[in-house]
């Protein structure tokens, strides 16, 4: 007879198991939440999550995480419901307000700033038994696609430490990919969850705009921002989204739409599902490795009984230009509050109030943030507003209309590559505009407000490649159904010469 596993060993194993199994074990008293917390911190040490190596976290709080784990144990002891994430260690992107740990947004301007209140999504995580272990690194104010724009140094990709994890939710993606947590929160404005998920070989979900409360998410582009979920599997992210989704009185843009249970049937076929393949997302110059993996994914869909249909979203090419007008415009206004008056960095100046503003913001913001604030200020200025901001907003409605039309035509979901290339090396992309093109396949979903998910569809030279499934407004169920089917169909279907990611 085998001796029962030692608790820490069990916890370490559980951390590598699907969330449902991990949570079930905790609820039945088979594992202690505090052991899971220890396992997560041990794993972080093992993989080198620290500053000198992967640089995943901007803050961790082992003491408090252990305390909340013990409170959960007491709850379970009293037979009270500990929630759907009972005992699960979770990492939270550093632009989401948490008590106790700083919320810096990866910026010097908020160095050491601790929020006196907590974001709605964090409260919902805690209410469902999640244990927050740390705040993850990110591009400053979520502006970037590589996490190289963090004021606290770049995060590295656990798959290949010479490469970027993507961004801006690079720390959250790396935390999941490195096996430290099963689930992490990120945020999206133009692809900041899906793109790093793709680069790190994990799953990343951007919900419908309004599906998740933004209260406590530090605003970048308010009309585009959504909190997203990163996880090891489609099922994990569906569980995570279920927990954080739902209308919130504190966010007037959150939608009063019921959140369904995302039922994922094992071995379910996709008969009758119509998958659109928008030609604009498969351009001539697409990286052949990416194109090939996408074709393989489309074949897998067909094998599951789905119909693949060629479709067109004619305004796709405008999404990057429109995005880089709308997002910086809103950012220029959203970031005005970082003025040195009430919190965060203040740099004194000899030249009075204006001098203080200028010195604080010049030292507090990095170059990419400064660039976008200036860009946003410019496009909102008198004389330019109509030509840029107003024009961009009207093109944005055309982009949204493309999606409405295609979904009205009988297409259930769209399938596209998540990014044009796999993860690039640190420092490889120097031209800001070239960096902006990382979001070329993801930004449209933010502009249109529709939900989208990135799932791993294989690797190239060991580097993960992600495929994107986009659904109509509040149709996350269809999105998850397709993603779940694809994930299962591709499991164990590695191409010759392809390593397991």
């Amino acid at each position: 007879m085998k001796p029962p596993p030692r608790a820490p060993d069990l916890a370490r194993k559980l951390l590598a198991q699907p969330l449902t199994e991990c949570v079930a074990c905790v609820r039945e008293g088979g594992a202690l939440p505090s052991d899971l917390v220890s396992a997560a911190f041990d794993r972080a040490d093992d993989v080198g999550a620290g500053r000198e190596s992967l640089n995943i976290f901007l803050a961790t709080d082992r003491v408090r995480a252990t305390e909340s784990a013990k409170e959960l144990t007491a709850l379970i002891g009293r037979a009270e419901a500990p929630g759907n994430l009972a005992g699960a260690p979770v990492a939270v992107k550093d632009n989401i307000a948490t008590l106790h740990m700083p919320t810096t947004c990866g910026s010097k301007v908020l160095e050491g700033y601790v929020s006196p209140y907590e974001a709605t999504v964090v409260r919902r995580l805690r209410a469902n038994g999640a244990v927050i272990i740390g705040k993850t690194n990110m591009d400053e104010f979520a502006m970037g696609s590589s996490t190289e724009n963090s004021a606290y140094g770049p995060t590295r990709n656990p798959v290949d430490i010479r490469r970027v994890p993507g961004g801006s939710s690079g720390g959250s993606a790396a935390a999941v990919a490195a096996g430290i947590v099963r689930l992490a929160l990120g945020s999206e404005t133009g692809g900041s969850v899906r793109q790093p998920a793709s680069f790190c070989g994990i799953v990343g979900v951007k919900p419908t705009y309004g599906r998740v409360s933004r209260y406590g998410l530090v605003a970048f582009g308010s009309s585009l921002d959504q909190v997203g979920v990163l996880g090891r599997s489609v099922e994990d992210t569906a569980i995570g989204l279920e927990v954080i989704a739902g209308c919130d009185q504190l966010d007037s843009t959150s939608a009063d739409v019921p959140v369904p249970r995302y039922e994922l049937e094992k071995n379910a076929r996709l008969d009758g599902l119509v998958i659109g393949k928008p030609k604009e997302y498969y351009p001539e110059g697409l990286d052949p490795r990416v194109a090939e993996r996408c074709e393989r994914a489309l074949d897998a869909f067909r094998e599951l009984g789905a119909e693949v249909r060629d479709v067109s979203l004619p305004h796709t090419s405008y999404s990057i230009p429109v995005y880089y007008v709308v997002a910086p415009a809103e950012a220029s206004s959203n970031l005005a509050r970082f003025d040195g008056v009430r919190y965060g960095l203040r740099v004194a100046s000899e030249s009075g109030l204006t001098g203080m503003y200028e010195a604080t913001r010049a030292r507090g913001f990095g170059p990419e943030v400064t660039r976008r604030v200036m860009l946003g200020t410019y496009v909102l200025s008198a004389g330019y507003y109509d030509a840029y901001y107003k024009k961009a907003q009207s093109v944005r409605t055309l982009i949204a209309q493309d999606f409405r039309d295609v979904f009205l035509s009988g297409v259930d979901v769209l399938f596209t590559p998540t990014t044009p290339t796999p993860a690039f090396e640190l420092g490889a992309v120097k031209d800001p505009y070239e960096m902006y093109l990382s979001d070329i396949f993801t930004a449209s979903a933010n502009l249109a407000g529709v939900p989208a998910i990135s799932v791993p569809i294989g690797t190239a030279s060991g580097l993960p490649i992600g495929g994107q499934i986009i659904a109509g407004h509040f149709e996350e169920s269809a999105m998850f159904r397709a993603a779940f089917g694809l994930e299962r169909a591709l499991a164990g279907k590695a191409l010759p010469g392809e390593g397991s990611a």
Binding site: N95, A119, G216, S252, T253, S333, A336, R337, V341, R342
Partner: protein, 484 residues
Amino acid sequence: MSAAATADYEMVVGLEVHVQLKTRTKAFCACSADFGAPPNTNVCPVCLALPGALPVLNRHAVELALRAALALECKVNETSVFARKNYFYPDLPKGYQISQYDRPLAEKGWLTIGELDEHTPVRVGITRVHMEEDAGKSVHDRYPGATAIDLNRAGVPLIEIVSEPDMRSAAEAGAYLRLLKQILSYAGVSDVSMEEGSLRVDANVSARIRGTTKLGTKTEVKNMNSFSAVERALDSEFARQVELLRGGGTVQQQTMLWHGTKGETRPSRSKEESHDYRYFPEPDLPPLVLDMEWVGRVGREIPELPDARRKRMAEEFKLSAADAELLTASAGMSEYFEAVARASLDPKAALNWVMGEVSAAINAAGVTIDQFAVRPADLGELLRMVRDDVLSHTAAKRVFARMVETGKPPAQVAAEEGLQKIGDDSALVGWIDEVLRENPAEATRYRNGETKLQGVLVGLVMKKSKGRADPRKVNQLLPERARS
């Protein structure tokens, strides 16, 4: 500059009035909107603009703004849009003010001034009524070398009421402001107090040669702290512009500040007029889409407005036009009068008392009619006691004075002070006999037929009784006591 010197020019005025709405909480968070709390105590993540906080619109603020718009005969827009007005200032925590820009709450209203004067009535157009939030307060003189910021006021709901340039004199501007204040106060929209900052006025003024129709270049005049300051500032700024134009100069479009002590306007040193506010639709708030049925209900529930009340009261209580206007100058006063008139069943006495004793008493105490110790029902009872001969007029005034001090009902005060009329014959006979004895000369002349002395003698009896004697009975008893 004399009036004659400006006679061939005409003043053109439009006013922008900011009014604080009388809500319990702020426009976009649940903080108290009250004045007077210690600095930075009525604050929360939203009105402090902490990272990640979001605004949520206060429904009551919308209701009061609608009331104002409807009371000013505006057309309410079913959909209006909040916009961000971006500028940096330490007491503006978000770095932008949530306001409304190209799609305001309501437009195209009007009010009519001068209806009761001998002037022809002037109809002033209301361009728009929009909602916005207040900023905080910068305190420059509290800490040497530093500015203190109090954010209690940040996020308090305001409406801005913009008029058309329809006024042609400072007096018309003054009349517009007084009527506007009256309407907003009647409608229960605001406390409309310039002293407390719940009403602020900026004026746009230009000059043109009489008879021409093209508008001249306007300046914006700010920093007036009373309606009369607005009138003086307008006259002064108009005179300055006319002098410039006469000398062949041109008026520059700029912001002028009123310096009350110097009695003149001076260009503002701030570069405010060159501000580019970079307005754009507020992405944190969806467009405000109103249920027009609700708007209709809000309109129907607006309390009676001054014009209607004036007409109704004049008719119902048989008041002269002048009295009706005086009484309805403030909503509180007219409500007080009406309650007294109904309780006393004697509108004429109510009018005299409210305009006389009551006005004097609240002025002396420095309180508003709402804070006045004597409730209208009690004053009504007092007047009834006079009418029913329970109290003499003199005694009633003394009872009233005690009521002002104590807030007690009149019957209780009269009893405590022993001021109820004494109609008991033996007491009256005693006082009358004493008066006749003490004034033998007058008594004799009276007995010999000088009946005009009756009043003098009755007065002396009243005096002896300290006002408690019932004068009607003294009048009856006097002839027979004199003969005996």
